[in-house]
């Protein structure tokens, strides 16, 4: 079978000398360079190992220390100043209430997600479930998504200012800000949705088609449910970006600390300027008059971000479990 002619019995009977004797390899001198190795080599191995391990542990310690330092510093300085006046309904330059900013943040994030999620999820569904894999269209969309992902938020801010604020005459407004953020978070949602869809085994799709369901029904009923946790974690990540964003909002949503007046103006309230929590914090910090309240605002911001992070982790865990 292996192309050797010796019968097994012969080979083992001949033993140590027979098979090898015919070949020159047996006569080779031993590799002897090891005699020259310094006797201190073992010591240097041990030292090198210690140094490498030290470097690696140091890196981990630095990362941990930085995290603890930032979070600890903000919490210690901010928590004592979380007072009821910080949560008063109306913002005044005395109470520097973060309540309007908090509500604006919720509004802003909700609006941008309402715009970005259908588009992002829809295009991911198209790329994964509909488009022929590797087609030119898919490639172009991939490239543009990667491009969008790399663009810094200040560029989104500039674009939002030029397009939504100026060209579309929406002014500094909730709507301009939300549209700008929607484009900014679009690649995050597309990417995570795509990954979640690709992770769904093809057998689920075959199951749907096998029952005679159309593509739409198959995607909605068989694929989406098991991709949902992954998509959710992507949406939460995007939400986190909305909450923390400043540069993209300064010149699109403005910095006015008010809640858009939906009761009085109806839909026109979307064209009101507003400031999110992060913008609020930036304005407070740059005014430099209410440092304690700025710390407190930072604490609230950190809490929101941490809660979102935890939620995303829970969603990912659920995905893994399935």
């Amino acid at each position: 079978m292996m192309g050797k002619n010796d019968t097994p019995l012969e080979l083992s009977a001949v033993g140590a000398t027979g098979a090898a004797g015919a070949n020159a390899v047996g006569n080779m001198p031993p590799i002897s360079k090891y005699d020259n190795v310094s006797p201190r080599h073992n010591m240097s191995v041990r030292i090198a190992s210690l140094v490498m391990r030290g470097v690696v542990y140091l890196g981990a310690i630095v990362a941990t220390a930085v995290l603890l330092l930032i979070v600890g510093y903000i919490l210690i300085n901010g928590v004592p100043y979380i007072t009821p006046s910080l949560f008063e309904w109306e913002y005044t330059s005395e109470n520097v209430s973060l309540m309007p900013a908090l509500i604006d943040t919720v509004l802003m994030a909700a609006c941008s997600l309402i715009i970005a999620v259908p588009i992002g999820v829809g295009s991911a569904v198209y790329l994964v479930e509909y488009a022929p894999r590797g087609s030119r269209f898919v490639r172009i969309v991939r490239i543009t998504t990667e491009t969008l992902q790399g663009i810094p938020s200040i560029i989104y801010g500039l674009f939002g200012m030029l397009f939504f604020v100026t060209a579309l005459h929406w002014g500094l407004s909730l709507l301009s800000g939300a549209c700008t953020l929607a484009i900014m978070i679009l690649p995050t949602i597309m990417r995570t949705t795509e990954e979640a869809l690709l992770a769904v085994p093809d057998s689920y799709r075959e199951g749907g088609f096998g029952l005679g369901a159309g593509r739409l029904r198959t995607v909605m009923r068989c694929v989406m449910p098991s991709a949902a946790p992954g998509i959710t974690s992507g949406i939460i990540l995007a939400l986190g970006r909305c909450v923390g964003e400043v540069a993209a909002l300064l010149f699109t949503a403005g910095t006015i600390a008010q809640i858009p007046n939906f009761v009085g103006q109806g839909a026109f309230a979307f064209l009101d300027s507003c400031r999110t929590l992060a913008v609020h914090m930036y304005v407070l910090a740059s005014e430099g008059l209410h440092m304690n309240e700025t710390y407190a605002t930072a604490v609230v911001l950190l809490v929101v971000v941490t809660v979102l992070n935890l939620a995303a982790n829970v969603a990912i865990k659920k995905l893994r479990k399935d």
Binding site: G3, S12, A19
Partner: protein
């Protein structure tokens, strides 16, 4: 009491002439035995967590011979192999009981793990050349063990590749990535890499199972030649291969070593009926 004492005494007195002769010859035999035995395994028990993977295994691997470990999947033969160079240390929850010696030294206590692995080289089931050049692959081991001079390294690389019978194929592409080689070449490169640290024992863990028949034949031929300088211990699924290449064979079943002996005897005239079943079943 006195009776007992009297009964013990005679054995402590001078042995008779014939007794002495037989003792001497026994001693010589043992000496010869240990001279020919490179590695020994004594009462080895190995557990993966609760699972008892090797049960009271004892055997000795003769010097400059090829020993094959055979048996069905999960019988413990690969586990035993990985215990010989302590690669099992990587497995979480793995516990080893018993004694393994290399030239009489306790492999788990007297020898540092890095030294042990240098002296007991290993070639894996899947060829695993590092993603670097052919030269750097071979030189990795020597550099690890303190060889720094370029001339020395050059010489070791050439010698190792020659020993692995792949020098002629690779001498013009030493600086090329090892990942561009064929599977068979990669495996022989891995053998050369193992030889470059001047091992005494070479462990082959089903090292031909991922290869085509021609590459397999080349490696079998190589193994038959290498045993002049090294003690070879190989795990194989392929009984024909054990027959073709090995001098001694050990048959394992469910963690027990059922039978150990000369390869031809074990295959043609097995003592244990289970060995007979396995060997003949495979041939049948």
């Amino acid at each position: 009491m006195n009776d007992n004492g009297a009964a013990v005494l005679p054995s402590k007195t001078e042995p008779s002439r014939t007794e002495l002769d037989s003792l001497v010859s026994l001693e010589i035999e043992q000496e010869l035995d240990s001279a020919f035995s490179k590695m020994e395994v004594n009462n080895l028990n190995l557990y993966y967590g609760e699972f008892h993977a090797l049960k009271d295994v004892s055997l000795s691997f003769p010097k400059n011979e090829v020993t094959a470990l055979i048996g069905p999947s999960g019988c413990g033969k690969s586990t035993l192999l990985k215990t010989l160079n302590r690669m099992n240390d990587l497995v979480v929850g793995c516990r080893v009981d018993g004694k393994i010696t290399l030239d009489g030294e306790d492999a788990y206590r007297d020898i540092s793990v890095n030294d042990l692995r240098r002296r007991v080289g290993m070639v894996f089931q899947q060829p695993n050349p590092f993603p670097m050049s052919v030269y750097d692959n071979i030189a990795f081991g020597p550099r690890t063990h303190g060889i720094k001079k370029h001339a020395d390294l050059d010489e070791i690389v050439e010698q190792s590749l020659r020993r692995a019978a792949i020098w002629d194929e690779l001498k013009d592409r030493l600086k090329k990535s090892a990942l561009g080689l064929s599977g068979g070449q990669q495996q022989r490169l891995c053998i050369a890499r193992a030889l470059a640290v001047q091992p005494e024992v070479l462990l082959l863990d089903e090292s031909t199972s991922a290869l085509d028949p021609i590459s397999t034949a080349k490696i079998e031929e190589l193994v038959s030649e290498l045993k002049n300088d090294y003690t070879v211990i190989m795990v194989t699924h392929n009984m024909m291969q054990a027959l073709r290449v090995s001098d001694k064979t050990a048959f394992f079943l469910l963690g027990d070593m059922v039978e150990f002996g000369n390869t031809d005897e074990l295959f043609t005239n097995p003592v244990d009926p289970r060995t007979a079943d396995y060997v003949s079943g495979r041939f049948g």
